[in-house]
């Protein structure tokens, strides 16, 4: 239902009056004061890829840009045949992960926040600690030792994938 033009005009006058801004009345200095609104926090996302042969995730020399990826980073490890080891007592996280390598978790935890893919011939071997993957589609394999943890949320594990092991 639409308000009549009379009703709309009356409403506008009421609103202007409440602001002291009716025609002919200048706004007060207080009303003219500048308003400063804070900007929301921004997170700078970046794509980081693995360089070279096998190694530890925490070695900055293996990452493009020379910095170990963190929670805001999209990580690519597209080097089939190598092993990347996650070995830390502290929880580690990245935004997303694409890997064709063998990812060994032998301590601590690694969490991905969003779409991640373990692509064949890639594999995950959780020997200790835990791996948590967000959504995505994987064709690689997952092996989980007794006492270790694997958490998959919204993952599609394709026909060539497998999940085996005792788990925690």
């Amino acid at each position: 239902m639409y308000a009549s033009s009379h009703t709309r005009r009356a409403g506008r006058r009421t609103a202007l009056a409440s602001l002291g801004m009716n025609r002919g009345i200048a706004p007060s200095p207080k009303q003219r004061a500048l308003r400063i609104e804070p900007l929301e926090a921004r997170m700078l996302l970046s794509a980081i890829s693995w360089k070279g042969d096998s190694g530890y995730r925490t070695d900055p020399n293996h990452w493009s840009g020379g910095v170990v990826p963190g929670p805001a980073d999209d990580v690519t490890i597209d080097v089939p045949g190598i092993t990347v080891t996650v070995s830390s007592s502290a929880p580690q996280s990245v935004r997303s992960l694409y890997s064709t390598a063998t990812l060994v978790i032998d301590g601590g935890s690694l969490t991905t926040a969003t779409n991640s893919e373990i692509a064949s011939p890639g594999a995950v071997d959780v020997q200790a600690g835990s791996l948590y993957l967000g959504g995505g589609e994987s064709t690689g394999t997952f092996q989980v030792a007794a006492g270790a943890g694997l958490g998959l949320t919204g993952q599609v594990l394709g026909p060539t994938s497998s999940v085996t092991g005792a788990g925690g």
């Binding site: 958490g151 594990l157 999940v163 085996t164």
Partner: protein, 85 residues
Amino acid sequence: MTLDACTVEGTYAITGGTTLVGRNDFTSTSTVASVGASLYIEGTATFQTVIGTGITELDSLTLGGALDLGSNAFTVANVDIQGAR
């Protein structure tokens, strides 16, 4: 192991404990490979085929195919078998 809202088209096998949270769909063979292994379902899981020896604890299980538990006992609170019984 915990799976939440996953689709498993490959092979899924457990020898320890697994918790399924939310809806999970298994379109290939799932194997519970050792006595004492357990599969705990908090949401709904649809299995095409489950071959197991150690399932002891299920809240909800929907089967589109066969469930082979050998001679092992198990308890299911809610069962919906869509295929042959």
